[in-house]
Amino acid sequence: MKYIDEFRDPALARKLLTHIESRSTRPVRLMEFCGGHTHAIMRYGLRTLLPPTVDLRSGPGCPVCVTSNADLDRAIALAGVPGLILATFGDMVRVPGSVQSLQHAKAAGADVRMVYSTLDALKIARDNPARPVVFLGVGFETTAPTVAAAILQAAAQGLGNFSVLSLHKLTPPATRAILDAGEIALDGIIGPGHVTTVIGADAWQFLPAEYGMPVAVAGFEPLDILRAVADLVNMAEDRHPAVSNSYARSVTRQGNPAAIEVMDRVFEVGTADWRGLGVVPASGLGLRPEFVQFDAIHLFDVDPGPTREHKGCRCGDVLRGTITPPECPLFGRACTPARPIGPCMVSAEGACAAYYQFGRDLP
């Protein structure tokens, strides 16, 4: 299949692996920011193919995972508002908040609907004009423009019963937070391919400039990732940090101006509460005041109750890259995809789910 098979070619993969092996003289620790990368790496078994000098660490790039318990509790409380329909992406439904998940709330009678796109939520709102419909918006710069476009569409159509609980987050500030904390020594970052399609590769220039940190923006096929690893190993060996882009079929230096424009029109940057990183200034997207009638935070006064963290869960450490999932004492024992304790075991982009699903006890 075009644009897929070319990037899964075993012969080219072997070539890249040989290059990496011959180039890599000293150990490097690379962080794949994006949960989609973690899954591709595990799914194709790339960790077992790379030389032992290359250590891959997962980062905070799983929107469901970085949603804090306080925000989850608010969403679950919203779902309990009589008559309200809460629409969200599938993964969110299973993530446990302080006390319960949306799945439990649904079983107890809340109207929670899983959608593939924000447009489906708009349709639900059109089909149920007498009921408030809230879209639970999680995601990074990849998803935020689509939610912004949905809000503009709702405004244009005068759809008064549609609103958004915006938990959207920005990726460059999160990367900065991890580097500023200095908990983990990194030699390079595999940049998020879909996010960078929107924000543009130049948005990562601050990493080599301010932190001396090489960045390789990558797509999600095995060759994309191996190319990025090769670039990062080259840059580390040459001590020449820069931003490389192995995902040029999707990513440009400037990104997608139309998506950025729509995002800027609807959202404004504010603080956000990240699981693992805590409150990070200028790292979240809330609705601008002129869209207040679509802002679920202002429309519904709910009491989420006190926030509690899950005892023993080390999702926060996994999201900062300070441990790999199997280092969490709950991994594969108390916490499995069937009975997840932390969100990293739930999400299709969660690092724990990827390690468990593809790499557990590999004989």
């Binding site: 799914r43 995809p337 069937a338």
Partner: protein, 345 residues
């Protein structure tokens, strides 16, 4: 009858119920046992030759709730017949009789019901089984989604045939009769309104003929396991077999047949074809010495033209399915976790 819809009265047991049974169901379901219209079908066990002279009885049931009711390659009725015929076939049974129970939502167009009943009759005829018992209930609008069908089936297992999930042995080779993911992705893309250059079509088909050829081609005792990878897909089926038999399973990603349109749809929706449902596929675990004959028998049948050898059973890593990836690395293939997919069967 087209233009009319099902009313609650069609399930009342009164005149409308009788009209529905006589004018619709009995027009298509015409087995002598059913036409007796007694409270149960009384069936004569056919005059059996060896190896069916001292058979075991296979008995199964399944309910079908797929939405939409009609999809490329089939409909809920065809699915209801194939599903139960295939469940019987997977124990090596020769399927003979089915029952069909209909739970109909008030308002279902009679024309739709007729198309579905006709499709069941055609499929049953093709599979060589008779629908010998039936039931109809009508529920209030909103109490069911258009139409649910339950079918139960009875078949005969020839003497000496012992095919079960716990019979896999290290060294067995694993055969698959064709492409994976066709049914599940057909339903998904119908629901999502996605269209592709080469349209997707469900693989829904009765597999008793294919199993019959397989049994006929192989020495008794060399066919160890048969499973149809329906919900949860091939990955789930292989995990079940590994767990039930206490063996390991190794498969090779590069030989797994997946149609381009299915792959494309899976890429778009973020799904793995290994976990997507099939309705006309089987995996056969056979003793290594019988594998060549088994593959030839599968390929000679219309439902097995694209049959391939996908892997083998190992003594190592019991209970685990391991996949050799396209790049030559190895990784675990886990059971399907969670259920975020819509109703597909």
């Amino acid at each position: 009858m087209s233009g009319d819809v099902i009313l609650l009265a069609h399930g009342s047991g009164g005149r409308l119920s009788h009209t529905l049974v006589e004018k619709l169901f009995l027009r298509y379901f015409d087995s002598p046992a059913l036409l007796q219209l007694d409270d149960s079908a009384v069936l004569e066990i056919p005059n059996l030759q060896p190896p069916l002279s001292n058979p075991h009885l296979a008995f199964t049931t399944d309910s079908y709730v797929v939405s939409p009711l009609f999809f490329p390659g089939g409909d809920i009725g065809k699915l209801a017949v194939c599903g139960t015929v295939n469940d019987l076939s997977m124990s090596g049974a020769r399927p003979l009789w089915l029952s069909a129970g209909f739970i109909i939502e008030e308002g279902l167009p009679l024309g739709d019901l007729e198309r579905i009943v006709a499709s069941m009759a055609t499929t049953a005829k093709r599979a060589g089984v008779q629908i010998v018992a039936g039931d109809t209930k009508v529920v209030d609008r909103g109490s069911a989604d258009k139409l649910f069908i339950n079918t139960a089936g009875v078949g005969l297992v020839p003497t000496g045939v012992s095919i079960a999930g716990d019979q896999a042995r290290p060294g067995d080779l694993i055969l698959l009769n064709g492409t994976i993911g066709d049914h599940g992705m057909t339903i998904m893309t119908q629901r999502e309104g996605l269209q592709f250059d080469s349209p997707l079509e469900s693989d829904c088909a009765p597999l008793n003929g294919l199993v019959g050829s397989l049994l006929a081609a192989l020495p008794l005792g060399t066919l160890h396991c048969l499973r149809d990878p329906t919900r949860g897909g091939l990955a789930t089926t292989l995990n079940e077999l590994a767990a039930r038999s206490g063996v390991g399973i190794e498969i090779d990603e590069s030989v797994l047949p997946v149609r381009d349109a299915v792959r494309g749809a899976c890429e778009l929706l973020g799904l793995d074809p290994l976990y997507v449902a099939n309705e006309g596929k089987l995996v056969a675990l056979v003793a290594p010495e019988a594998a060549e004959a088994a593959l030839a028998a599968l390929r000679a049948h219309e439902n097995g033209r694209e049959a391939v050898l996908i892997g083998q059973v190992t003594e190592a890593h019991p209970g685990r399915v391991v996949l050799r990836t396209l790049l030559g690395a190895r990784r675990i293939v886990d059971m399907l976790m969670g259920e975020q997919l819509p109703r597909i069967c």
